[in-house]
């Protein structure tokens, strides 16, 4: 039996002085295999032509369609309406600047994060392009690749109570990136460098192990394991810091 969905959507355009935040509810006949991406497009084609939301890949690859679906962050293009109750509520991701309706600016946030944590490979020297690259063991390559699957969708920021309370917190997305470069032998940074980036309450020591990121990352990245690994490493580095200081005197 096909259902009629009742979809409540957060509507507001902060750039329009006449706009006020509100919830708009539309009815929509459910179709087989319908995703929220399809549902939202149907609504935009019919009753809500000015509805804003973001999509690019429609396949869970680009990370642009993250939104709060019945209270929990997720990718709209990967969410089947069949998996949801008849009443669906959609909100923009909290923790990011609102563009309009369901569209938020994760890009600026992610760029600032990348600059702050320097999330790129820091080579020890200019690579000699005529030489073979240093080999990487398949196991390690696999591990790095696993962490590289992050699509910067921002769900872990919306899922993290710490990030919601303390906007300066780098969140699982940032910490996962440090874990990725810490694994990578091509990156010349050591733990003293990592500690400078995340050895504080905006970094790894701010994480309160609430596990929202681990539970709600749509790419199912092994975030708890990365956070614990970084925490152990940074705690060790912090301890080392005490002894090093004495050495220098």
């Amino acid at each position: 039996m096909s259902r009629t969905l009742s979809i409540s959507i957060f509507r507001h355009n902060p750039r329009d002085p006449a706009s006020a935040p509100r919830m708009e509810t539309h009815e929509l006949a459910e179709a087989p295999g319908m995703t929220l991406f399809i549902a939202l497009n149907r609504l935009r084609e019919s009753v809500a032509p000015d509805l804003s939301f973001d999509f690019v890949c429609r396949a869970g690859v680009c990370g642009s369609c993250a939104m709060v679906i019945n209270g929990r962050p997720g990718l709209a293009c990967r969410t089947l309406t069949a998996a949801l109750p008849e009443r669906i509520s959609l909100h923009p991701l909290p923790g990011f600047a609102l563009i309009a309706d369901l569209s938020v600016d994760t890009g600026t946030w992610m760029r600032e994060l990348a600059e702050r944590l320097e999330t790129w490979v820091h080579l020890a020297a200019e690579p000699d392009l005529d030489l073979l690259e240093a080999p990487l063991s398949p196991g390690l390559a696999e591990e790095i690749h696993e962490l590289d699957r992050c699509i910067e969708c921002g769900c872990c920021i919306a899922a993290c109570g710490t990030a919601q309370m303390r906007p300066g917190f780098v969140g699982a997305v940032g910490l996962n990136k440090i874990a990725r470069f810490r694994l990578d032998p091509a990156d010349s940074r050591d733990d003293a460098d990592h500690y400078e980036l995340i050895g504080n309450d905006q970094g790894i020591f701010g994480c309160m192990s609430l596990m929202g990121c681990e539970d709600l990352c749509p790419k199912e990245l092994p975030l708890q394991a990365q956070l614990a690994w970084l925490r152990r490493g940074m705690a060790r580095q912090g301890l080392r810091g005490i002894f090093d200081k004495k050495d220098k005197k």
Binding site: V68, G71, R72, P73, P94, A159, G161, Q164, M165, R166, A192, Y195, E196, G199, N200, D201, F205, C207, M208, S209, L210, M211, G212, E214, D215, L216, P222, Q224, A225, L227, A228, W229, R231, R232, M234, A235, Q237, G238, L239, G241, I242, K245, K248
Partner: protein, 250 residues
């Protein structure tokens, strides 16, 4: 011109790491201590003599041949300091203003996420212990000689401490259980290779331990209340173990 005297400044502080370790270590020690504590308290379930032996043991009675209650005072002072350190560090994590409180409450409400709720439970139970734990610690520190089967029973019943102990029991067991669970997640001590299985097992162990210590605690408190009730007419009379009692006059 001579070069100015320079000395290098530290690049970063190691304090955030220290504070994080201290938070975890103080929580771990407190939680382990609370388990031992509960085992000692439950001696009353064995017999009044057993409770007397445990109480005198900590006063060094079986080492020095006489009770030295100040040993208990010193130990309680140490535990109180540990609690103070732990609470001070925990304050860093409390929602600090209306906006933060609003953010975490709305977030928890919205996501209905189990572990986030558990953290809020930890904040709430920790906050309650701010006020409840010192009452208990102060009495133990200042009147260590009044620990014993009759003495404690009289405090529980005639001294009307049982409501305090009843609330504290739930606060400590829930807070400590959740704390140990999060400690394992935080530092990555999981009883399985993958996080999902490890977490499920941890959660099971956590609830089993919490239930065990709650039942043990309720039984012990019940035993003290019963004893205190029947001993109420003689409240204040110290306990004398069965083998030291004078033979009843013939």
């Amino acid at each position: 011109m001579p070069a100015p005297a320079t000395h290098a400044l530290p690049r970063v502080s190691h304090w955030p790491a220290m504070l994080d370790l201290a938070q975890s270590l103080s929580g771990l020690l407190l939680a382990l201590f609370m388990w031992f504590h509960m085992c000692f308290v439950s001696a009353i379930l064995l017999s009044e003599d057993a409770a007397w032996i445990v109480a005198r043991f900590f006063e060094g009675y079986f080492v020095f041949g006489r009770a030295l209650p100040w040993l208990v005072s010193v130990f309680v002072a140490l535990i109180s300091s540990l609690l103070a350190v732990h609470a001070l560090l925990a304050l860093r994590k409390f929602p600090a203003d209306w906006a933060q409180y609003r953010a975490i409450a709305a977030h928890s409400d919205r996501t209905r996420h189990g572990d986030t709720l558990l953290w809020l439970v930890q904040v709430a139970t920790g906050f309650a212990m701010f006020f409840l734990a010192p009452v208990h610690l102060y009495t133990m520190m200042t009147r260590p000689e009044l620990i014993g089967p009759f003495e404690s029973a009289d405090r529980v019943w005639s001294g009307f401490y049982w409501p305090l102990y009843l609330i504290l029991l739930f606060m400590v067991e829930i807070h400590g259980g959740v704390g140990l669970y999060r400690l394992a997640l935080k530092w990555g001590w999981l009883p399985a290779r993958n996080t999902r299985d490890g977490r499920r097992r941890l959660a099971l162990a956590k609830w089993a331990l919490t239930a065990f210590f709650l039942i043990l605690g309720l039984a012990s408190l019940g035993a003290y209340m019963k004893l205190g009730h029947s001993h109420a007419p003689l409240a204040g009379e110290p306990y004398v173990p069965s083998w030291l009692r004078a033979e009843p006059a013939r």
